[in-house]
Amino acid sequence: MSSIKTMAELAAEGRTPEVLFWVGCAGSFDDRAQRVTVAFAKLLQQAGVEFGILGQEEACTGDPARRAGNEFLFQMLAQQNVAVMNMYEVKRIVTACPHCFNTLKNEYPALGGNYEVMHHTQFLQQLLADGRLKIEGGQFKGKKITYHDSCYLGRANGVYEAPRAVLQALDADLVEMKRCRTNGLCCGAGGAQMWKEDEPGDKRINMERTEEALATGAEIVAVNCPFCMTMMSDGVKAKEQQERVMVYDLAELILNNRG
């Protein structure tokens, strides 16, 4: 079922979708994150949400450029995105990347881009609450799952409960890490660290966080961010626990649960 249309195609048909699905660079190009994109798109289709994507007209939001200090590059990307979205009269955006979420929500208004922006965990929670999406099966019932708060959804935007509500809907046994919610420990990827080697130190940050996640005894580490996904998956592999512990995005958990 590949009827996913771009905003350009929809506009040509004279249609305005309910929401724009902002895919982001990781969701578009990273193999692992791509699978999350596919899972979320399937869920949107199953819930009957009419959505569009920007396709080739989407550019990086500029998050890593701005945080590296390269404001020129950020402005070039951001202004281009704002121009495209305003042209399509975008009102609502959903994205599976908390970095895109934060930039679209908090930084685009100063550039003339005013949208209602939701993270996909918030969107999924709403679909579940509205009954547009139903949890079937019970594959995760009683399974130990730990949830890793991403910095840009958590501390940066104060979203702690929506993802947990989604996990609760799965009937899973949620075990918290010692550092969670406002005290959640970063995975190590933010601030454009994803694209550079670590500064000299004793340990990689993702190893510190992975050890904490493994200590909970959980079989599944749930994440909400493509960069946390990379960092935590690398950590689990480095600890040679990939046979026992899986790292999943919340969208994948819901989709898997539906079989």
Partner: protein
């Protein structure tokens, strides 16, 4: 009479020295930039709410309950002791003794008793704080930036606290015994909660002359410790007792994740992308028309950041939650704040030496204090911002330094070059040949 003159001289000297120091701090803080985009559009109501909850109410302190409770004892004792301090001024200048006792009656006994109770709790807290730093050696107090003066500074203040409490209890204790003896000049002020038993236990049976000497010693010790503290404050990390209030008022209220916009670059890029629509950009950054982005020195930071550096009390909660620091990197958010203050004071000293009203070029910058390695280690995770009990934002300073490095020096980690190139050439964070919506085939 001699005491009156002495008191007047000591008070005037203390206020002169402290006032001079505070004016210098104010001047230094105002060397920072004032930019509207730094301050949010938040109403003053929201700001006052922060002052009340965070500064006055110590809300964020309580995320770590044990130190919060002990700190609260000292804080409450400090606030309430102001009543006694006020009386010391009245007594000191009028030659009266316990000038408030007559007018306040039973309420006076209550207030002094409450001060005594809090002082006792503050004493316990002070001993525990000394133990946490020197015996238990809590790790956040042992980081490299705490070596030398910062650790001494912390211990000196705690020692001063013990002096002050010694003063209060010897003053009130001797006073209680003198009252019970019906000594002249010592009016009945009622039994004080702690001194009513501590006084007779320590000083019972002494001669009136000895008791008066102890009472005067306590009174002067109290007064001199306060004056000493007032003057010392400007050189110590303890300015938070005042600056926590303005610092929480002026703290950013914008969403944590928002990095401040740079309107000058926004305009320039807008005119680049659409030359007809936008007017040509006007250079910003001073009368000389010299463009300057980000910060390589304290004078290019916002004055709120400079005030924050003076507000920092070096508790290290930020550093203890910093993912980079936890994993052994050089970055410590507390050190960022300490370095900003150290550099700012150096800039101030240079101005004083040359009697200049503007900063002198001494060939140094903030990068002589903060290394590149430190600012490159930040993940912008906001843990330090979340942890600070007085709403200091070290992240904002790190981002200003990064901006200077990239925009003014074209420097920065070479690992970022491929990122910048691919963002510029293909608007994607990675250089990839596949299409952005290639994933559609998998749905």
């Amino acid at each position: 009479m001699i005491q009156l003159i002495l008191f007047a001289i000591v008070t005037a000297t203390a206020f002169y020295l402290a006032g001079r120091n505070f004016l210098k701090i104010r001047r230094n803080i105002l060397l920072g930039k004032d930019e509207p985009e730094h301050s949010s559009t938040a109403s003053s109501g929201e700001r006052w709410r922060n002052v009340l909850l965070v500064a006055f109410g110590q809300k964020k302190m309580f995320s770590r309950p044990i130190p919060a409770i002990f700190h609260f004892f000292i804080y409450a004792a400090f606030l309430l002791t102001q009543v006694e301090l006020l009386e010391i001024f009245v007594d000191g200048f009028t030659g009266k003794h316990r000038a408030f006792s007559g007018a306040l009656g039973g309420f006076y006994t209550f207030i002094i008793s409450l001060i005594e109770l809090l002082s006792l709790l503050a004493f316990v807290a002070t001993v525990i704080f000394l133990a946490r730093r020197n015996v238990l050696k809590i790790s956040r107090f042992q980081k490299p930036e705490m070596k030398g003066w910062p650790s001494k500074d912390a211990n000196l203040i705690l020692f001063g606290e013990i002096l002050l409490l010694t003063g209060i209890f010897s003053m009130n204790g001797a006073d209680t015994v003198l009252q019970s003896m019906g000594a002249e000049h010592y009016p009945q002020a009622g039994p004080f909660l702690v001194s009513s038993s501590l006084g007779p236990a320590l000083f019972g049976g002494m001669s009136e002359g000895a008791l008066v000497a102890i009472e005067r010693f306590g009174w002067w010790l109290h007064a001199l410790t306060v004056f000493g503290f007032m003057v010392y404050l400007a050189y110590s990390k303890h300015l938070h007792i005042f600056l926590a209030f303005p610092n929480t008022y002026y703290a950013r209220i914008n969403p944590r994740g928002e990095v401040a916009n740079m309107p000058a670059i926004q305009k320039e890029v807008a005119s680049m992308m659409n030359p007809e629509a936008a007017p040509p950009p006007t250079p910003e950054g001073g009368a000389e028309g010299e463009l300057s982005f980000g910060a390589n020195d304290v004078t290019k930071l916002h004055w709120q950041d400079l005030m924050a550096a003076y507000t920092c009390t070096e508790c290290g909660r930020c550093t203890s939650v910093c993912p980079a620091n936890i994993t052994g990197k050089k970055l410590s958010p507390r050190k960022i704040m300490m370095d900003v203050r150290d550099r700012l004071e150096e800039v101030g000293r240079n101005m004083d030496a040359q009697k200049s009203s503007t900063p002198i070029d001494d060939g140094k910058t903030l990068f002589d204090y903060i290394s590149r390695e430190e600012i490159h280690a930040c993940t912008t995770c906001n843990a330090c911002v979340e942890a600070c009990p007085v709403l200091i934002n070290p992240l904002d300073i790190i981002l200003q330094l990064r901006r200077h490095e990239i925009l003014m020096e074209s420097a920065g980690p070479s690992d970022w070059l491929p990122l910048f190139n691919s963002l510029e050439n293909s608007q994607a964070a990675w250089a990839v040949s596949t299409e952005r919506d290639g994933w559609k085939r998998l749905v």
